[in-house]
């Protein structure tokens, strides 16, 4: 790999749903590092049944952590969902002003200075991960500031702690961290090590192994968005075996 000039990594995240315990640590870590105001969730953890696509089954309940089935035949799994950083992203296609764009490393970002706030991207995203700045940002007193600085990629303002009213925002794969070789903060924060981040162009990386031969799946593959976030399906225990 070192021989290649102008090497651009292909950033990919794999979420091992076998390991996820639904503790929301990644969601809270995300809120802290990105200084997300109250009511904003770039990252959220859905309560699901094992290996259910997101539309196959009616919810067991409107509430978190409610299993499917009746005792003792219950089942429960979790699906952490943030921006899927699609390679063929509907949001990039619909944005009338190219404010949402895809970087060469696969990261989909929003230019805070260009977005006109039409919210077409929110209508187009199949994963519902985009957040709009409806009014003045509210914070809990004594909150953590997190990264706390503006971050530019080229001439694009892709993160700012001072939220401008009337623009759309979402998960950035912690672009300010991955650009200096660190992992996204949710990966660091996960107590179970359920999130794995790496370079798909590097055949030796753990993510390459999961994506190429480990059975990692994308969310809504039938929509052809080709996300850069993958999920390892829950390996069910067969009754009778231990």
């Amino acid at each position: 790999m070192a021989a290649k000039n102008n090497y651009v990594p292909h950033h990919v995240m794999v979420v091992d749903t076998n390991r996820c315990i639904g503790c929301w640590s990644c969601a809270f870590a995300c809120k802290q590092i990105n200084n997300e105001p109250l009511g904003y969730w770039w990252n959220r953890i859905l309560t699901t049944a094992p290996n259910q696509s997101t539309t196959a089954k009616a919810p067991a309940s409107d509430n978190l952590d409610v299993p499917w089935g009746t005792y003792p035949d219950c089942e429960l799994a979790y699906l952490p969902v943030a921006c899927q950083h699609c390679n063929d992203a509907p949001c990039v296609k619909v944005c009338p002003v190219q404010a949402t764009f895809r970087r060469d490393d696969g990261t989909v970002l929003i230019d805070f200075n260009r977005c006109i706030g039409c919210r077409y991207c929110m209508a187009a995203c199949p994963y519902g991960v985009r957040i709009f700045n409806w009014g003045d940002a509210q914070y809990a007193p004594g909150g953590v500031v997190g990264y706390g600085k503006e971050y530019w990629t080229g001439d694009r303002l892709v993160f700012t702690p001072e939220r401008p009213k009337g623009v759309v925002e979402k998960c950035t794969f912690c672009v300010e961290r991955i650009d200096v070789g660190e992992e996204p903060y949710c990966v660091v924060a996960c107590p179970m090590g359920a999130r794995i981040f790496g370079d798909l162009n590097d055949p030796e990386s753990q993510v390459s192994e999961f994506v190429n031969s480990g059975g990692a799946e994308q969310l809504h593959p039938e929509l052809g968005t080709n996300p850069n976030v993958y999920y390892l399906p829950v390996a069910r225990r067969v009754p009778g075996e231990s």
Binding site: V94, A124, C125, P126, G166
Partner: protein, 421 residues
Amino acid sequence: MATTTAALPARATRTFRPIWAWYAALVALMAWGLGAWIDELHYGLAATGMRDVVSWGMYIFTFAFFIGLSAGGLIMASSAEVFGIKALRPLSRLGVLSAAACVAVAALMIIPDLGKPIRIINIFIHPNWTSPLIWDILIITVYFVFSVVDLYVLQRQAAEPSRWRKVMRVMAYVGLPTAILLHSVTAWIFGLQIARSWWNTSLMAPLFVVSAVLSGTALVTLLALCAERYGKIELAEDTRRWLRGFITVSLIIDLFFVGCDYITVLWGNVPSDRSALNLVLPGGPWAWLFWVEWIVGGVIPLAFLVVPRLKKLPGALGLSAVLVIVGVYAFRIELVVLGFVNPLTQYPPGNAVGTYNPATSSFQLIGRYHPTWVEIGIVLGLVALFAALVTIGYKSLHVIESAPAGEHRAKAAIAETTAGS
């Protein structure tokens, strides 16, 4: 000439008071709308009922509604030429006027929906040609310019029929495809989106075109009836028959298309499609839309349009036009809002709302939406603007011969106008 000079002062004294009351009401509504918009600019879109789950609301469905309303006039004016429907020719100018006013109001309806209205300039600096929105803005601009030019041509043609006749015919042939394109591109804003199965159907563009013809013709009918009522001119029976025919046929096709969509979803029984349709079918939380669309805007106007005994009643045409417009508005609400209300991910807790309210959850599984007074005020202000544009336009065009009672009256009126100008 004698009749005209005798009639004019009498009408002027009679309509002086009501017209000023009408203008005052419109100005009051526009002032309310402007005030509401200033309020929204100050507080941001948090002043509206939209949130991250239902992220498009009243502005967008009213926008789609006005785009639809703009169809009727231009299609009618063009059909009069292209298909040689003489009976509709008197309504050409009124129709094109309402088309221009509708599309202008529709374009303005987008402005308060933007989070950063000042940055609308970015659309021209950094256009993204894969976005249906860019194409829609393009076609809206073309359509508006076309309507204004067409209005000018029709006005000149009324004065010098032989000289402008050819230009008018060319405009008619260009106008019809332009109108159809406008509705198709607006439909594709929704219909091309893979994310929401409620929208993602190739039926969307045909449905938009037919419901546009339906509501647009109904609007022109209403305007013509108003002109008849307050302008003291009579609609020819032939004109009424064509208007009734247009509304009836497009209403039947519209209901047929919507029915096709329902049957496809019901038979297929795909969970994400079914959960959307269940919201609007009787028993669902949005069932009132179903009743407004199928009964108030469907069966009742259809009865007043086709049942021989009912259609002879004096207000039958006007009543059906009003009901049909109400039904199409319900359809626009159903189309836009239910696409968002139906959960993208069926799993709790759903999607983040994006604002904080200590009394409720920050998440919604099934979207909720109620327009606030800010949204209602802005929309009513723009509706008032439409009414003002049509009133002022109609008065300044002197569309006196627009709806003659019969051939004799028509010839007399044209002769009068030609002599007068």
